[in-house]
Symmetry: C2
């Protein structure tokens, strides 16, 4: 399967559809702005509804569609994954972390509000993700809900996203090799992407084979996504990205580009995208948007 303008248009339409629906769902699930704790709801809403590709929700929705999962359930799990993604951005942008003032072209939460509010809004978004999954409205079976909670917790914690973030922070100025940076990215961004791809299979009580195929797809696609991110950062179009670029190089951080160079990084991303698509061979045409997604992540401009 190759990339074509028609595929790209189909993929982008699918992404936009899920984005609109998950934003509606987030609006429903986020706390209301009222009472003396209004400020926390306001900051959570600012962070969560201020833009973003909603790529993780797209992955949840598409993987759920493979198994005929009800849209409401898929969108709730998608909202949970997005809450964890957003919380990580809010905390990553803090002055003591990556110190970014811009996110999606708008002031970061700690600039729009203040640092304390940003810390707490991130905390509350992480917590909300688990509250959403634990709610009986997500799935009638407790066994399904608890499996989602368990996997999301593992993907987010010290051996997942937070572990990746600490390696990233402590790797400045140190030499990471290809293995080191691959592991870093698998933890920092790959774990939540894997959760997003597997969530639909869990909601749909899919076979172990199907679950494994989606895991393998997520692994390769997530890595391709991250290599593409490093390429975009190196090429540095801050306006298109809606955030500062070139920061990794300035901070002396190893990236896929600094290790492989631009050409080999591009080739590697392309190879991983092809490989990701092959893992979907056991699925029919309902997996086409996931197939397109693997190509999209390496051709995107932001």
């Amino acid at each position: 399967m190759t990339s074509s303008p028609a595929n790209a248009a189909q993929f982008e339409a699918g992404l936009a559809t899920v984005a609109a629906k998950v934003e509606e769902m987030l609006d429903r699930l986020l706390p209301r702005v009222e009472g003396p704790e209004a400020r926390i709801a306001e900051a959570m809403r600012y962070a969560a509804l201020g833009g973003g590709k909603r790529f993780r929700p797209f992955l949840v929705a598409q993987s759920a569609a493979l198994f005929g999962v009800a849209s409401e359930a898929a969108l709730r799990a998608a909202a949970a994954a997005e809450c964890v993604h957003i919380y990580s951005l809010v905390h990553d942008d803090l002055p003591c972390m990556d110190d970014d003032d811009l996110r999606h072209g708008l002031p970061a939460v700690h600039r729009q509000f203040d640092e304390a509010t940003a810390v707490l809004a991130g905390d509350a978004l992480l917590t909300l993700a688990f509250e959403i999954l634990a709610d009986p409205e997500t799935h009638e079976r407790a066994r399904v809900r608890i499996e989602l909670v368990r996997r999301l917790a593992i993907a987010s914690g010290a051996h997942g996203m937070v572990g990746g973030q600490i390696i990233d922070l402590t790797s400045e100025g140190r030499e990471l090799d290809m293995g080191g940076i691959t592991r870093l990215q698998q933890l920092k961004t790959g774990a939540l992407i894997s959760f997003s791809c597997e969530a639909g299979a869990i909601l749909g009580r899919a076979s172990p084979d199907a679950l494994h195929a989606l895991h393998a797809y997520a692994h390769d696609m997530g890595l391709a996504y991250q290599i593409a991110d490093d390429i975009l950062d190196a090429e540095g179009d801050a306006a298109a990205m809606g955030k500062a670029t070139g920061k990794d190089a300035a901070a002396g951080k190893a990236t896929f580009v600094s290790i492989l160079g631009l050409d080999r990084a591009r080739a590697q991303a392309g190879m991983l995208a092809e490989q990701a698509v092959q893992h979907l061979d056991l699925f029919d045409e309902r997996a086409d948007l996931l197939r397109h997604a693997a190509h999209f992540v390496i051709t995107r401009r932001n």
Copy 2:
């Protein structure tokens, strides 16, 4: 039931027993210090194993004992509650929040490590709490585990602990009345104390009446606890408390003492403790340590 030296000794022995056991459990459940993400495990362990009364674990263990819950299950739920408590302390101590350099007489996590590590260690401890509860080892029934997750998420989020913290931060210099400060404390500390008291009942699949009694007990005892905290802060013995005191008054924050005065605050705490004990009337002598606890919280010196 009145406070006596014998009761106090019994209570303190019970508290120490649970503390030792939950520290053993935390040691088992916390990530190991190895690999490139060792720093996050190190910071989590520093935060979690550096002292503390382990009062929430005590409440989980004692409420679980009322219903004959297996010790392993109770200690896992106790460890989860303690992880949430510790994460909240680590984030509260940050410079952008309460800016405390000391915790349990030792440097706060952001002083011992750095701010970024403290943010991430808090994030990882919060996440670990849900991972612990979701694990099949906590209880064989998914329905029980997911109910614990659901309640812990609600107790910790925007309408629980984080909500209380944001009210606390935004209330500096503003006048809070008795109703306002009561609600603040119910969210900030009361919600997790309630979870801790109810967790045993949920693990033990207790009757709604028993669950309700423990909730009411937690409500009154938690408030008594907080009033006592304000009294200790106002009386200001930093050495005994292991942290800075008198900070609330200096920051112009309303406290139970600033609103009621020391004498009425003491009377109110005593009244609430009595009331808390009365809610336990439907339980036999297995609830005695919980009864003693209600008295302890208002007579403690740290």
